[in-house]
């Protein structure tokens, strides 16, 4: 187990290094530079040259990359050109928001998707199955940003059930500990803050969950159908076990294996969705931050954030693999 972790982490090094080179080249390919972004309509050519010189952007690419690597060695990812703040600070600020959102979305998708997929499979061909399947098809086909917009228009603006933007009611005095607001509220005993944060999470998480939900429903359904036809389920039935035992221990436990792997892979797609949902709900997480960074040619943020994301993605998938190996004894031998 430990070997696996170490091995996977070591394998990460060349990948990340390669990625950093790619990113570095990429951001330098972007037209325009940070100067115009800083000055807006007021920038003149001379102003821009001055800024670029000051920032060392007139140096050859490899020199810039060298400096970047050298700073990376000091665990310094540089400073955002938009905000003038260390990239690390920006990341730690944005990260909890997206994690909170993503985790909520995945939890929603799992909590709804697995039972739905399971019952759709059990009652194959019933109206439940048909509507679960068509619903999940729709979930994949509806553009996330449009869904987010509709949800907001209906539940926030029309009905006023949920707040329309942000992570927290403005002006709410909540103590920040970890940056995960729901958790913070629980830690500090400010349960109203937790509740507030939960309310803010509902709509964006619903929008974000649409695709994972659809995928989980379909995967669970297909997987359960497959497992239902497996010999060991027949064995379990032949033992006269209670239906609940057959379903839980024999069907679901096996059927969920591929779903678990899928959840890991879904996290990648989740960030795509987060870029869209966060901007609709002004959620201030990684997604919207990266979007502005791209718009504004915020080189250090782009390189830093994307490296973090790649790292996070790999680590999540590593965790999922580990989780997988906990449920599936067959892969434990590695």
């Amino acid at each position: 187990m430990l070997r696996l972790v170490v091995r996977r982490l070591l394998q990460l090094i060349p990948t990340l290094l390669g990625l950093s080179v790619l990113l570095f080249v990429w951001v330098r390919l972007l037209p325009g530079g940070p100067a115009a972004a800083l000055l807006g309509e007021r920038a003149t050519a001379a102003d821009k040259a001055q800024i670029e010189r000051a920032l060392g952007l007139d140096q050859p690419l490899w020199v810039q990359y060298g400096r970047f690597l050298e700073r990376l060695g000091r665990l310094d990812l540089g400073t955002s050109t938009q905000t003038g703040q260390p990239v690390w600070d920006e990341f730690t600020r944005a990260f909890p928001a997206t994690v909170e959102l993503g985790v909520t979305a995945i939890l929603m998708a799992v909590a709804v998707g697995i039972p739905l997929g399971y019952f759709a499979a059990r009652r194959r061909g019933s109206w439940l199955d048909v509507s679960a399947v068509s619903g999940s098809l729709l979930g994949i086909c509806i553009p996330v940003f449009f869904l987010a917009y509709l949800l907001k228009a209906l539940f926030a603006v029309q009905l006023g059930w949920f707040p329309a933007f942000g992570r927290q009611t403005t002006g709410l005095d909540a103590t920040e500990v970890t940056g995960f607001y729901v958790l913070d509220g629980i830690l500090t005993g400010e349960f109203d803050a937790s509740w507030d944060a939960v309310q803010h999470l509902v709509l964006p998480a619903m929008a974000l969950a649409s695709i994972p939900l659809a995928i989980i429903v379909r995967m669970t359904r297909a997987s359960v159908l497959e497992v239902l036809g497996e010999d060991y389920v027949r064995t379990a039935e032949s033992k006269g076990l209670k239906q609940s035992v057959v379903r839980g221990r024999h069907v679901l436990r096996n059927a969920l294996l591929p779903v678990v792997t899928a959840i890991g892979l879904l996290t990648g797609g989740l960030l795509s969705g987060a870029v869209l949902t966060e901007s609709v709900f002004a959620f201030g997480g990684i997604g919207s931050f990266i979007k502005t960074a791209i718009d504004q040619r915020d080189y250090p943020v782009l390189v830093g954030f994307i490296m973090f994301i790649a790292l996070a993605y790999v680590i999540i998938n590593l965790l999922v693999d580990l989780a997988y190996s906990l449920i599936d004894p067959r892969v434990r031998v590695h």
Partner: protein
């Protein structure tokens, strides 16, 4: 002795009634299953209608989709005045007083184009990479393995980036245009196709018929290209149908992020949706038309793709 011939005839007659006459390749079989599938039927009808509209659009469209002069002054967005469906404009006028129906028709063409070109790009490049990798592994040898490792590391790198981010990154470099959208959406598909094809080839490469061909003395290159590759294509083909749906949706997302092609001379559903969202309160239908267009088309491709997946599923083969 007539009994002997009689009984042979009788037997022939009885067995004939059970005979299932086939002579079809797997593809033909799959097509037959496909034709029976309700999902495929719905998907096919949707796609057929969509393609027809895309092709005939310019001829059916009653007006020039970029004409802002004819109804000038009737739509005042700053005063919340829009024009809904009416006799001469079946779907009403858009926010710049252009005929929405004509725009939807012409938009179908652009949307289809984006989907097809992007998927084609992803398919071609991905299949080349995955195919080369898979072939290198099938041919064996240390060099093949090393080649595969390098290529797969690269693909992993691409996969570690959220697809939309990748697309946005590409679009940022290339500047805004329809071509950019196609490329950005296409590139995102590359690692998917590459992995899929490589995986399938790897699986096929271990099968007995490959060994059989090898023992026949067939050259490795021919084994890789003549046996392994064709047998690995079905998941890739299914994926390309599904990718068409994804491409259309991703293109819409890019438009929403302002990286689409907001040029009026080329109305495209994604752009139309992104633009109309700003007027959702006053003229929701302007957003609903292109949104429905996108959803239904994507649904069509997804349905067909899923049906194909089922039809080509080796588990269902007799």
């Amino acid at each position: 002795m007539s009994t002997k011939t009689d009984k042979i005839d009788r037997l022939a007659e009885l067995t004939a009634s059970r005979e299932t006459t086939t002579g079809n390749s797997l593809w033909v079989e799959a097509m037959r299953r496909l034709r029976r599938s309700k999902m495929a039927l719905i998907g096919g009808v949707i796609i057929g209608a969509f393609v027809l509209l895309a092709i005939l659009g310019p001829w059916i469209a009653p007006y020039d989709p970029t004409d802002t002069h004819t109804w000038r002054g009737e739509v005042l967005t700053n005063q919340n005045i829009f024009v809904g469906p009416r006799a001469e404009n079946w779907l009403g006028l858009d926010h710049l007083a252009r005929d929405e129906f004509s725009r939807m028709l012409i938009g179908a063409r652009q949307t289809l184009l984006v989907g097809i070109v992007a998927t084609l790009l992803g398919f071609t490049v991905g299949a080349l990479i995955g195919g080369a990798s898979g072939a290198a592994l099938t041919l064996g040898g240390a060099a093949g393995k090393r080649f595969d490792t390098v290529v797969m590391r690269f693909i992993d790198m691409m996969l570690a980036l959220p697809s939309l981010l990748l697309a946005v990154s590409i679009a940022a470099v290339l500047g805004q245009s329809l071509t950019t959208v196609m490329i950005a959406v296409g590139v995102v598909q590359v690692p998917i196709f590459a992995r899929l094809l490589r995986g399938a080839m790897l699986a096929q490469g271990g099968s007995d018929y490959v060994l059989a061909a090898q023992s026949l003395g067939v050259r490795k290159r021919r084994i890789a290209l003549g046996h392994v590759l064709p047998n690995s294509l079905s998941p890739v083909i299914v994926q390309s149908t599904l990718s068409l749906a994804t491409a259309i949706i991703e293109a819409a997302a890019l438009s929403y992020l302002g990286l689409g092609n907001p040029d009026a001379s080329e109305p495209e559903w994604g752009v139309m949706l992104a633009q109309a969202q700003g007027y959702f309160d006053s003229a929701p239908m302007l957003a609903v038309y292109p949104a429905l267009g996108i959803i239904i088309t994507a649904l069509g491709f997804t349905l067909l793709g899923e049906a194909m997946r089922e039809a080509l599923d080796p588990k269902l083969r007799s």
